[in-house]
């Protein structure tokens, strides 16, 4: 039955039809008609953030945790430009975010009107689609298509820019299903599957490199079956963490710049890499010229533009990871990799992290894990703590680790945790940040309080922009330029926001603080005062190959220059 709606009402209706129940946003002039209509739609919960960047990261976190599109809303001009970092992050990490921005009214466009920004032009390179709605007659279909585009194939963000006068126009509205998905998923070709199966059957030192695509493609079960069928060690990239249980005997660890030595060594000695849903980021490969020189590569990937982009591929298998992995399982006789495993195990070393003092990241992460029996989601920010979280938290449950991988956007964790919490209200969500990244979006504590979101915040306070300081120590002769960073009194800050705050300065306080924070029904903050100049080991220097590993700090240079 047709009815007359304003553009703004129509936008809300389409959001509901697309299954949206929560969105993250911030009002302003050009999006006011939308906000005027919003209270008529109680099924749409709106989370008022404190900065639009947080709205985009929260929508991203929601999308990653739920597998559904995350929605963020902002006004034109500064509201829209504030979304940019969050959209770039979602783009790099393939997160289906739909951003809705107000735009100045059409008669004002192109005249540098107040708060007019060409947000389409700004976001073209960091979205799957950026679209200006030029008339109300196309508004509903554009909105529906935005969701389809964000979710189809390899997911990613979409931006819909709606001029204020279009939001106020009226039109006869008939509910309709979303526009059909543009391109069907390619099906890997049979000859390539045979070729891959042959390589796998013959390989003596094969490895699986599992990436984010396993999680996005719901392929973790197929991966486990394939791995168990073949006995091949499974390496998980930063965004592949929690795609494969870490207590599984076939799990090997994380590769790349901060990967364990035995993991990178295995890559360098492998004769076959089976890469699944990962894109050979330079943080994984190091210098590609020296990457896995002895290995042929089978690349299972949904997006054909990734094939051969960074490393040459022997057999590309373009399509959904799950069906391809199960087809390979069917095509292969069961095998094992006993002598290869022996070789890898013989190259294992003791843990590198030799923290001074007893608030070692390892102890903190073990406490976070144990306090909830592992039933929690972890959202890491960017820096040293991100690597410790990746390496030391024992992930056993699918899709419980979230991090800004491709963009490496500091400030991600706190707002993204808001989105993760809203997707998973029944389990604890920890946002783990450094003292630098926390201060980039700590204003979102107010959002948590206003909206009653019991997110748990952990700050690894080392008094430095730690990861940059580490590079300065290793590669810039210890010149700590602009890396010492002052922090407020976080316990008092928590108090100012009306939430529980704890400072942990001794190892014995860790478990108590974690348990108290979890018991608290609201948001809670723990500041862990960690060793100031601890480093993340091992490390492959930027631009070096995976074989050129740093395992200790360089000797301090003579204080001459």
């Amino acid at each position: 039955m047709a009815e007359i709606l304003t553009g703004a009402q129509l936008m809300c209706r389409v959001l509901l039809e697309e299954g949206v129940d929560v969105m993250f946003g911030y009002p302003g002039g050009a999006i006011m008609p939308f906000y005027h209509a919003l209270p008529e739609f109680p099924g749409l919960r709106h989370i008022l953030v404190r900065h639009e960047q947080a709205a985009a990261h929260a929508a991203d976190g929601y999308a990653r945790a739920s597998g559904r599109a995350g929605v963020c809303v902002a006004t034109s001009g500064p509201g829209a430009t504030n979304l940019v970092t969050g959209l770039a992050c979602a783009y790099m990490d393939n997160s289906p975010v739909v951003a809705i921005t107000g735009q100045v009214s059409r008669p004002m466009m192109g005249r540098d009107a107040f708060q007019e920004t060409d947000i389409i032009g700004v976001t073209l390179p960091i979205t799957k689609w950026s679209v200006l709605v030029e008339d109300i007659s196309t508004l509903a279909d554009t909105m529906r298509r935005a969701f389809a585009v964000a979710l189809e194939g390899r997911p990613g963000p979409v931006l819909v820019d709606v001029p204020k006068d279009v939001q106020n126009q009226r039109i006869e509205y008939t509910p309709r299903a979303a526009a059909p998905v543009r391109r069907a998923t390619p099906v890997a070709d049979a000859a390539a599957l045979d070729a891959a199966a042959g390589l796998i059957a013959r390989a003596e030192r094969p490895l699986i490199l599992a990436g984010h695509g396993i999680i996005l493609g719901n392929a973790s079960e197929d991966l486990r079956i394939f791995a168990e069928h073949t006995g091949i060690p499974v390496i998980t990239t930063l965004l592949g963490i929690s795609a494969f249980p870490e207590d599984h005997p076939l799990h090997l660890g994380m590769p790349g710049m901060h990967g364990e030595v035995h993991v990178n060594r295995a890559i360098q000695h492998a004769d076959l890499l089976i890469a699944v849903g990962m894109r050979f980021d330079d943080r994984v490969t190091g210098n590609t010229a020296g990457f896995a020189r002895n290995a042929k590569i089978v690349h299972i990937e949904l997006d054909p533009t990734e094939i051969g982009k960074n490393v040459p591929v022997e057999v590309p298998l373009v399509g959904d990871a799950g069906p391809i992995l199960s087809a390979l399982t069917r095509a292969l006789a069961p095998r094992s990799c006993t002598s290869w495993w022996e070789e890898i195990d013989a190259s294992r070393r003791p843990q590198y992290e030799q923290f001074k003092g007893d608030i070692a990241p390892e102890a903190i992460l073990r406490a976070l894990h144990d306090a909830s029996g592992g039933r929690c989601s972890i959202v890491a920010d960017v820096g040293q703590h991100q690597m410790w979280v990746a390496k030391l938290f024992p992930y056993r449950r699918l899709n419980t680790h979230f991090s800004s991988g491709g963009l490496g956007a500091m400030g991600f964790a706190v707002p993204a945790a808001i989105g993760v919490h809203l997707a998973r209200p029944d389990e604890p969500v920890w946002a783990i940040s450094g003292d630098g990244g926390f201060q980039m979006n700590m204003q979102e504590m107010a959002t948590m309080v206003q909206e009653g979101l019991p997110i748990k915040l952990a700050i690894f306070n080392n008094g430095y922009l730690g990861m940059v300081r580490q590079w300065q120590q290793f590669f810039h002769g210890r010149r700590y330029s602009a890396t010492p960073i002052w922090s407020p009194d976080y316990v008092k800050l928590a108090e100012a926001y009306g939430i529980a705050g704890y400072r942990v300065e001794q190892g014995v306080q860790i478990a108590g603080a974690v348990e108290a924070a979890l018991r608290d029904p609201g948001p809670a903050l723990i500041e862990f005062v960690i060793e100031q100049e601890a480093n993340v080991y091992p490390m492959i220097p930027p631009g070096a190959s995976l074989s050129e590993v740093i395992e200790t700090a360089p000797a301090p240079e003579p204080a001459s220059a």
């Binding site: 390179p125 679209v131 997006d303 054909p304 533009t305």
Partner: protein
């Protein structure tokens, strides 16, 4: 092996799609020799021609990247050697009574048509491969060129097994 490829892209006629397509070429940091854009035969569609210097795999990847853009219908890669490429040039030349006949002789060599004639000059039209156009421009330079409008190259795939490579016009550049 890196060599010249012609990528032809059929896209809708919205400027934002052109913007996205050109942005893609820029962002992927590709050695682009030329980009030409014009209408396509299908209603509401445009066609973009990009000449890029790349190996086969990279060129194919660019085409796939184009096809990921919303608004792009298809993108095809053809090695430049397998295409016939032409551009149009409009040239305005100052008229000089004393050398007029000589000018017409030169233009005749290039099969250039005189489109407009007036007391202060003439406008001629010329088509050919870019080398041919450049050669003609050099040849008429001494008569006094007022302005030149070049279309950039459009290209189309040769029929299969065509023996004409390079074309006779290319071979006959004076």
């Amino acid at each position: 092996m890196s060599h010249l490829h012609c990528i032809t892209v059929v896209l809708d006629d919205k400027l934002v799609t052109l913007n996205a397509a050109v942005g893609l070429l820029r962002r992927r940091n590709l050695p682009v020799r030329s980009v030409t854009f014009g209408p396509h035969v299908a209603e509401g569609r445009s066609r973009l021609f990009a000449m890029i210097e790349a190996d086969e795999g990279a060129a194919q990847r660019v085409a796939l990247l184009f096809e990921k853009l919303i608004g792009v219908d298809e993108a095809r890669v053809v090695p430049a050697a397998d295409t016939v490429a032409r551009e149009l040039a409009l040239i305005r030349i100052r008229a000089q009574a004393e050398s007029y006949g000589e000018l017409l002789d030169v233009l005749g060599l290039y099969h250039a048509n005189v489109l407009e004639e007036g007391p202060d000059g003439l406008v001629v039209e010329l088509t050919g491969p870019d080398t041919f156009v450049l050669s003609c421009l050099r040849a008429v330079e001494r008569f006094g060129i007022v302005d030149v409008a070049r279309s950039g190259a459009v290209a189309i795939e040769r029929p299969a097994e065509s023996p004409r490579a390079p074309t006779s016009t290319e071979a006959s550049v004076p």
